[in-house]
């Protein structure tokens, strides 16, 4: 089956996303997030049957009010998964694959995805959020920190990109 590559124009998609973000501020008083949910899931998993873990201040901060998963961002991220699935299902885009540049070995691609995930974990804890909860939410509410985080991220991405040229070879 030919892949459906009919995507929204990014400027229009941004207008719709920005409007959704505004609705989020108007309803919940906060914008959308993503990384915080994974911090909470990790804290909850680490806590399962392991009371010693509460000696970690960071984890106990999530647990002390009850279940770490009873949280707006966690529920919102569950919705994010559902919404992504619905969109892809209607567009006929649900397909197992490992996306990468031409001729790049799958094992190496997955290795970098894993290491990148670990690095991004530390990045989001230091930065108190990711592209969603820090950059989009913060910049939309005129926070100086969001721009500092975003410009540092883009600058570093441009700087390190040549090291990963092979992984993304031929990608348009």
């Amino acid at each position: 089956m030919k892949e459906n590559n009919n995507y929204w124009n990014p400027i229009i998609a941004g207008f719709i996303l920005g409007t959704a973000l505004f609705i989020s501020f108007m309803v919940a008083g906060q914008g959308m997030g993503a990384s915080g949910a994974f911090a909470r899931i990790t804290a909850q998993l680490a806590f399962l049957g392991n009371w010693d873990i509460l000696s970690s201040d960071y984890i106990s901060g999530y647990i002390k009010h009850g279940n770490a998963l009873a949280n707006w961002t966690v529920v919102e991220v569950a919705g994010l998964f559902i919404g992504g699935y619905i969109s892809a299902a209607f567009a006929g885009r649900i397909k197992q694959s490992v996306d990468r540049g031409e001729d790049y070995p799958i094992a190496k691609r997955l290795f970098w995805a894993f290491v990148g995930g670990m690095i991004i974990a530390a990045a989001t804890r230091l930065g108190r959020g990711c592209t969603s909860g820090q950059v989009l939410d913060g910049a939309s509410t005129f926070s100086v920190g969001a721009w500092i985080f975003m410009l540092a991220a883009f600058g570093s991405g441009f700087l390190f990109a040549p090291l990963f040229k092979k992984q993304w070879k031929g990608v348009k």
Binding site: Y7, P10, I11, G14, G18, A20, F22, I23, F25, V27, A28, G29, A34, S35, F38, S56, D57, W72, E76, V77, A78, G79, L80, F81, I82, G83, G84, Y85, A91, R93, S97, V98, R100, R109, A113, F114, G117, I120, A121, A122, A123, T124, R125, R128, T131, L136, G138, S140, T141, F142, S143, V144, W147, F149, L151, A153, G157, Q167, K169, K172
Partner: protein
Amino acid sequence: METLNTMYPLFTTGGISSNENLLYGLLIGIMFGFILERAGFGRSTHIAPVFFFRNLRVSQMMVSSILTASTWIIIAVYNGWLDFNQVFIPTTYLWPYMLGGALFGLGMIMSGWCPGTAIVGVATGKLDAGVFLIGLMVGMYFYFDYFDKIVDFANSGNMGKYTIHEALGVSIYTSFLITVAIGVGLMIFMRTMKSIRDKKGEDI
């Protein structure tokens, strides 16, 4: 016509209950995921090229959504619908944000994902997104474990809720105009870099 009172955010002004807020959170998340997938962010190969100035959809969508959301916010503040003081704004930690941002950019070009897009990637069958999210959780665990050794740095440069208008001592409307200027400047920068790359005819 009755006098308009500030009634938003609905949750913090008591307009909806905590459970209703969670239900709306689920719906907002569904919208978010749907939009990200429609825009093509369920694939790492649509994200990584921005760092080579090959495909600007990431930066275009980010700037477009920031400018759209802040325009709506400024309209709502001007009309007295939204109490801006009740909107959550992340605290600015200068040094951790610089290092965190730099690590974030490195992690993004390395993995092709950020946390939000990777969720969409997993929902649409991308194995690299799943591996990324496992790495993300392992990384979180290490961070929690080492947190007491880096806590001083992680909380350094605390500037509180630091908005552009507070920093410059201007009104929120000036903050909005500066946000538009930064966004437009970023778009122009990205377009210029892309046209330089295009002229050289380099592929990744």
